[in-house]
C-alpha cells in the first residue's frame, strides 16, 4: 500500500484510578513526604504491592512500614531529549532506586546535569513538590545526597483513594494512494468507487482492498459513483457528554444507498436536515468541505443534504444497511 503522506492525530482522556488499600496508603503517605513499603515475609517491597509477586499471597495494609526517604541507585538510564510526558523538561535520568529499608527498587527520575554525575550505588534523596496530591509526581525527582529537598505544607486531610491519570497518545495515520486519489476525485466533484475484480462488489474509493476476496484494489479498479443517494436507515444519537465530545444536541447518522450502485455508506452525518425530518427514503446529495486541506488534511465529506426530490417509498430500503 503506497503512501506519501501522513496525518497526525492526538487523543487524550482523563482516566481515574481507584487505588485500593495498599497503593492508597502509599499515595497518602507521599502527601506527608513519607514513603511506605510493605512487609512480605523477610522482604520489604517498595513500591508496596497488594499481593506478593512471587507467591501471590495477599499482603495486608497492616504490614506497611516506612522506608527511605534516601536510597541507593541500582541502575539508571539517561533521557537526553525529554518529551512533554516526562517528569522533567530538561535531560535527566530514570533510575531504579532502592529506598533505605526496602528490598526492591522504585522507578523515578534523578535530576542531575549530565550522565557523568550518575553511578550505580550513588545515594539519592527526594525533592518534594510544595503541593502534593497523592501521586507519584509528588516527588519531583530524586537528587544526589542524603537530605530531602523542597516540600513543606501539610499532608492530605483525607486518605487518598483515587488518582487522576491524564493519558494522551499522538499517532500518525498514513494516507494511502487510494485515499489520495479519492480525495482528488472529491476535489473535482467526483465520488470514486473501487470494484473488486473477483466479486464485483464496489467499495468507496479510499478503501484499499476487498474484505471478501482479500484482494488489493488500485486505480485499475476505479469506477465513478453518484454523489446522490437515498437514506435507507438512520440513527438519532442522544449525545452523552465526555471529554472530547463535540455534540450537545441530538444528532442524526444515516445510511445512504448511492444511486445506480449497491454502495451503502453507513453512519453518515447530515447537513441542513433537522433531526425530526430525517427519514427512510429521503433523497440526499453529498456536501464537501476543503477547509482542512491547508493544514495537511484532505477534503472531507461534510455530510448529506436533502435534495428535495420525492422520497423513495420502497418498504425494503430499511434492510439495506451494509
Amino acid at each position: 500500500m503506497t503512501t506519501t503522506r501522513s496525518v497526525e492525530a492526538t487523543i487524550r482522556f482523563p482516566y481515574k484510578r481507584s487505588l485500593g488499600p495498599v497503593m492508597g496508603a502509599f499515595m497518602t503517605a507521599l502527601t506527608e513526604q513519607r514513603f511506605l513499603g510493605i512487609r512480605s515475609g523477610e522482604r520489604v517491597l517498595c513500591p508496596p504491592r497488594e499481593w506478593d509477586p512471587d507467591t501471590a499471597a495477599d499482603l495486608s495494609a497492616d504490614d506497611l512500614v516506612e522506608v527511605g526517604p534516601a536510597g541507593t541507585v541500582e541502575s539508571w538510564t539517561w533521557v537526553s531529549s525529554p518529551s512533554a510526558a516526562h517528569p522533567l523538561d530538561h535531560p535527566f535520568a530514570f533510575a531504579l532506586i532502592r529506598l533505605d529499608g526496602a528490598d526492591t527498587a522504585l522507578l523515578h527520575a534523578v535530576d542531575v546535569a549530565s550522565p557523568d554525575a550518575l553511578s550505580t550505588g550513588m545515594r539519592v534523596a527526594p525533592r518534594w513538590k510544595a503541593e502534593r496530591v497523592g501521586h507519584i509526581t509528588d516527588v519531583e525527582a530524586f537528587v544526589p545526597g542524603e537530605v530531602p529537598q523542597g516540600g513543606g505544607g501539610a499532608g492530605a486531610e483525607e486518605p487518598v483513594t483515587m488518582m487522576d491519570y491524564d493519558a494522551a497518545i499522538t499517532y500518525t495515520t498514513p494516507v494511502t494512494r487510494n485515499e489520495m486519489r479519492a480525495e482528488a476525485a472529491n476535489a473535482e466533484g467526483r465520488f470514486l468507487g473501487l470494484e473488486c475484480p473477483a466479486c464485483a462488489r464496489v467499495y468507496l474509493g479510499g478503501r484499499g482492498f476487498c474484505p471478501i476476496d482479500a484482494l488489493e484494489l488500485g486505480p485499475e479498479h476505479e469506477v465513478e459513483l453518484s454523489q446522490r443517494g437515498t437514506i435507507t436507515n438512520y440513527t438519532i444519537i442522544e449525545p452523552v457528554q465526555y471529554p472530547g465530545q463535540t455534540e450537545t444536541e441530538p444528532f442524526a447518522r444515516v445510511h445512504v444507498l448511492l444511486d445506480g450502485s449497491d454502495v451503502i455508506l453507513g453512519y453518515q452525518p447530515v447537513v441542513e436536515f433537522p433531526v425530526g425530518d430525517v427519514r427512510i427514503g429521503a433523497r440526499v446529495a453529498a456536501v464537501w468541505n476543503d477547509t482542512k486541506v491547508a493544514s495537511g488534511g484532505g477534503i472531507e465529506l461534510d455530510g448529506w443534504i436533502p435534495t428535495g426530490e420525492p422520497d423513495d417509498t420502497d418498504p425494503n430500503l430499511v434492510n439495506r444497511i451494509c
Binding site: I11, R12, F13, Y15, K16, R17, S18, L19, G20, V22, M23, R49, E50, W51, D52, P53, D54, T55, A56, T161, M162, Y165, A167, R201, V202, Y203, C210, P211, I212, N233, Y234, T235, I236, I237, E238, P239, V240, Y242, P243, G244, Q245, T246, E247, F251, R253, H255, D262, V263, I264, G266, Y267, P269, P315, V318, N319, I321, C322
Partner: protein, 389 residues
C-alpha cells in the same frame, strides 16, 4: 472428539456495580479469580496458565493489562496472555482457555475477564477518542429497526425483553441493576436514547470481573467424585466477518449463523429449542434477544419475537434466556461474554441459586462484538454424553 475433554470446576464473579472504587483494578480481577479458585478448591499454585480478556485499552487507559495484572492473578512465571475480540472477548477468553486444556498443553487454566468502566468513558472509547461517538446503541439502532420492519414484531417485544431480564436480575445477587419496579410501562416511559431503543432497553455501564477454572477429564471426574458437579465444554466455536460489504446482513450475520451451526453439529443438536435447556445470549439492547434467537436457529426466521411474546424465554418458560439478568442488567464489557459462558456452566452444574432452571443439563452461551461481527459460542453440559448417544 478430536481433542481431550475439558471441564469447568470453578466459577467466580464480582458484585457488578457502577463504580467499584473500593478496590484497585487488580483487586477487582483478584476478587473474581479468588472466588473461582475457592469454588474449584484450588489455590494460585494449582493454576498452570492464565488467559485474560477485556475490551480495548481506551476503556481504562491501561496498556498491556496482562502484564499489569500478573501479581493480582498469581501469574508470575506462568504463561499468561490476552485475547482481543471486542465485545465478544469474554466468550473468546473462555474458549481460548478451554483450548489450552483440550489440546493437552495445560491441565488447569484460569480465564479472567473484566472491565472497570468507571475509570474511563465507554462512549469516548467506542468513538475512538473522537467527538460525536455513536455509542453501541447508535451503531446497532439501524440493525434493530431493520429487524422490527422485516419481522413485523409488535413494538412491545423490546420492552418485554427489558422487563424479563431485569426481573431475572432480581434473583441474581451479583447483578448490577436491581430495578424492583420494572414494568412495561416504566420501560416505555423511559427516554428514547437511540430510536428504536429506549434508556431502559439498554445495558448499564458496570465495573466487574468474571473468572472460570478449566481442567482436564481427570480433574473434572475428580471434582464430580468429590460431589462438586463440573460443567463439560462439549463444543465451542468462534466466527468473524467484515463490518461492511455489499450484501452483508447485520441482522442475520453469516458469522452468527455459522458459529451456531458448528456448535450444534459438534454436539449433535438438530433442534436447539428442544435439546438445549437454556441460553445466555449477549443482549445489550432489548431487540437483540429475538434477533439472536433467529440468527442462531433457535427460532425460525421472523419468529424469534413470538418466543419472547409467549413467555418462552422467561425463567419459567420452555427455553429460558438470560437467566442471570444478562448484559441488560450487568455490563462490565470485557467480562460480559465470560459471564454469559459462566452462567451457562452454573446452570448445568445446578449452582445458579434463585435463577436456576430446574433440571438444566445442556446450556448454550454466546457473545458478540464490534459491529455485530465477532461471535463466540459454546455448549456446556452436566455430562460428557448428555444425549446418551
Amino acid at each position: 472428539m478430536s481433542h481431550q475433554p475439558c471441564a469447568i470446576v470453578g466459577i467466580g464473579q464480582t458484585h457488578h456495580k457502577s463504580r467499584r472504587w473500593d478496590v484497585s483494578l487488580g483487586g477487582l480481577v483478584r476478587e473474581a479469580a479468588r472466588r473461582a479458585l475457592d469454588d474449584a478448591e484450588m489455590d494460585w499454585d494449582d493454576i498452570d496458565a492464565v488467559v485474560i480478556g477485556k475490551a480495548p485499552d481506551l476503556f481504562e487507559g491501561v496498556m498491556k493489562p496482562e502484564l499489569y495484572l500478573t501479581d493480582a492473578l498469581g501469574a508470575t512465571g506462568k504463561p499468561m496472555f490476552r485475547v482481543h475480540t471486542a465485545g465478544s472477548v469474554g466468550g473468546t477468553t473462555g474458549i481460548v482457555a478451554s483450548h489450552l486444556v483440550e489440546t493437552g498443553r495445560h491441565t488447569r487454566v484460569l480465564a479472567v475477564a473484566y472491565q472497570k468502566q468507571s475509570e474511563g468513558n465507554a462512549q469516548f472509547a467506542l468513538g475512538s477518542g473522537k467527538g460525536a461517538s455513536l455509542g453501541a446503541g447508535g451503531a446497532f439502532a439501524p440493525f434493530m429497526r431493520s429487524y422490527i420492519q422485516r419481522s413485523g414484531a409488535p413494538l412491545d417485544v423490546g420492552p418485554m425483553v427489558a422487563v424479563k431480564d431485569r426481573l431475572n436480575a432480581l434473583k441474581n445477587p451479583y447483578a448490577h441493576l436491581k430495578l424492583e419496579n420494572i414494568s412495561l410501562e416504566t420501560v416505555k416511559a423511559s427516554p428514547m436514547m437511540w430510536d428504536p431503543v429506549r434508556y431502559l432497553e439498554s445495558c448499564p455501564s458496570s465495573d466487574g470481573a468474571c473468572a472460570v477454572v478449566f481442567t482436564d477429564e481427570a480433574g473434572g471426574k475428580a471434582a464430580a467424585a468429590a460431589g462438586r458437579q463440573p460443567a463439560w465444554v462439549l463444543a465451542s466455536a468462534v466466527r468473524s466477518e467484515p463490518a461492511s460489504f455489499p450484501g452483508r446482513d447485520p441482522v442475520r450475520p453469516q458469522g452468527a449463523i455459522d458459529c451456531a451451526a458448528e456448535i450444534y453439529a459438534t454436539v449433535g443438536v438438530s433442534n436447539p429449542r428442544e435439546q438445549i435447556d437454556c441460553a445466555e445470549l449477549y443482549v445489550p439492547f432489548s431487540w437483540y434477544e429475538p434477533m439472536w434467537l433467529e440468527a442462531h436457529g433457535i427460532a425460525d426466521e421472523g419468529a424469534g419475537w413470538r418466543m419472547v411474546e409467549s413467555g418462552a424465554t422467561a425463567l419459567d418458560g420452555d427455553f429460558p434466556v438470560n437467566m442471570s439478568g444478562g448484559v441488560l442488567s450487568s455490563n462490565p464489557i470485557g467480562a460480559s461474554g465470560l459471564l454469559r459462558f459462566a452462567e451457562a456452566a452454573l446452570q448445568v452444574r445446578g449452582m445458579a441459586g434463585e435463577h436456576q432452571v430446574d433440571g438444566a443439563k445442556v446450556a448454550m452461551a454466546q457473545a458478540y462484538g464490534a459491529s455485530a461481527q465477532y461471535f463466540a459460542m459454546w455448549i456446556v453440559a452436566n455430562s460428557l454424553d448428555p444425549f446418551g448417544s
